[in-house]
Amino acid sequence: MNKNIIELKKVSIFYGENRAVNNVSMHVQEKKVTAVIGPSGCGKSTLLRSLNRMNDFVDGLRIEGDVLYHNKNIYRKSVDAALIRSQIGMVFQKPNPFPKSIYKNITWGPKINNHKISSYDELVEESLKKAALWEEVKDRLHESALALSGGQQQRLCIARAIAMSPDVILMDEPCSALDPKSTLRVEELIKELSENYTIVIVTHNMQQAARVSDKTAFFYEGELIEYDITDKIFTNPKNKQTEDYITGRFG
């Protein structure tokens, strides 16, 4: 039995008066892939961004309830949000490499966080290998990351997150801007990474959730409708709404 690394307790998130996430309680298990699915606007990305306090940058956003990370509420006043973000990495919807070389994309994070790194060359190689990008870019590490294809850029963003040796990696629809072939590569990568990392992935692609995740949470209109082992959700959902959604009757 894996232990819970993140726990949400009665979390509600508001944009001004609008409630985007309503009274959600769930947990994320260590070294598992947890998928969050649901139709657009169901609050799943908002919820994901609350796990590493990236919501702090949204004006007028308010959060209620507790988000526990290793049993500590990350929304307490004494918590250093930057430190949380250095432990909980994030991969965004659109690939967003820094406008620097591939090499510097990897080394920047550990450098600014004063990680003790004995060899940056090794760190770069290791991270790129884990992200299945090494073979494609090993001869042009010092060229611009923006010269890479979209799929390669997204894998570089994953490598960049891995280089921080994070506890958890959050992925916000990481394949939605990629073509099917790149999507497949990233999905394979997610499965490989789950041996060593805890991954939370938001996706509106149900097949993707079924392919990569161990557990799946189905959200609808800001509420957690059902949360269970992925196989169960997709073969034998308890809830009528979940069934309707995964069989494609709406959404």
Binding site: N52, M54, F57, A82, L83, I84, R85, S86, Q87, G89, M90, F92, K94, N96, P97, F98, P99, K100, S101, W108, G109, I112, N113, E143, S144, A145, L146, A147, C157, R160, A161, M164
Partner: protein, 285 residues
């Protein structure tokens, strides 16, 4: 096939744009040709080496050239750090919705369009008289720094604004502090744009005459400035002075001065463009 009205409009528009472009280029070329024709006989190594003189054939531009270099360097030292730092504050730190901040931004934009003579009067009151810097390089440079500060601030703000938010979020998501995001990601990405503002400002400083006349750039300085508190003259003031004399020889001298001024302008811009290119490497390939 008969061409449609839209096709005719299409070619007509392209042709008129082309014609206007060439017209301005031809006018510029005629101007340059005229100046070179008039000035080349005075243009020599001696001209760059000699101090000013009442006799046209012995007069040189050395003091003005050195003065201009002094003024440009000092102005850059004041204006660039203040301008870029202000832009960073206004764009990255200040509350953009605050009425006060918006008021400040609008007024900076207005200042950028103010006639330079007004800055001259301000410099005279503030630096020359109140602070007692007298008619020194320091007073002139500070005045010109005030003059170009709004230009640097506005272009830097625009450059910083153009850096995509996704880069900032990526940096924050890796645990970066705001200063690390600004210094490590935003500023390098904005640098080509910021450099453009700096190039414009330096060109303006090199060519500016009116405020320096008021602040007290001399037309006749017989020695080279040795520190920032010395008296000085600059190229455009020297040119203005020569051009105003009745003798034809001095007009040619002024033309030679203009050639030197253009040379300085081009080389400064060239350096700035090289720096900009260096940082543009990662923009898109």
């Amino acid at each position: 096939m008969k061409s449609s009205k839209r096709q005719i409009m299409n070619s007509a528009f392209a042709i008129s744009c082309k014609a206007v472009t060439w017209m301005s280029l031809v006018i510029l070329a005629v101007l340059l040709f005229h100046i070179f024709k008039q000035g080349y006989e005075f243009l020599s190594f001696d001209f760059l080496q000699n101090l000013p003189s009442r006799k046209a054939h012995k007069a040189g531009i050395k003091t003005a050239l050195v003065g201009t270099l002094w003024v440009v360097s000092l102005t850059a030292c004041f204006a660039i750090p203040f301008g870029v730092a202000t832009a960073i504050y206004l764009q990255e730190y200040a509350n953009k919705k605050s009425l006060f901040i918006r008021f400040i931004k609008i007024n900076i934009a207005n200042l950028a369009g103010m006639p330079s003579i007004i800055y001259g009067l301000l410099g005279l009151t503030l630096f020359v008289r109140y602070f007692g810097f007298d008619r020194s390089i320091l007073a002139g440079s500070l005045t010109l720094a005030l003059l170009v500060l709004p230009v640097i601030i506005i272009t830097s703000i625009e450059a910083i604004k153009a850096v995509p938010g996704s880069i900032r979020y990526a940096a924050f998501a890796m645990g970066a502090r705001r200063y690390q995001v600004v210094l490590g990601q935003v500023l390098p990405a904005a640098l080509p744009g910021i450099m453009t503002g700096i190039i414009l400002s330096i060109s303006r400083v090199i060519g500016e005459t009116a405020p320096l006349l008021i602040v007290g750039a001399m037309s006749y300085v017989a020695f080279l400035p040795e520190n920032a508190m010395d008296m000085f003259t600059v190229l455009p003031v020297q040119i203005y002075n020569w051009a105003g004399r009745p003798s034809e020889d001095f007009h040619s001298l002024a033309a030679a001065g203009i050639i030197v001024l253009l040379g300085v302008l081009f080389s400064m811009n060239f350096i700035a463009v090289i720096i900009r290119k260096k940082f543009q490497r990662y923009k898109s390939e």
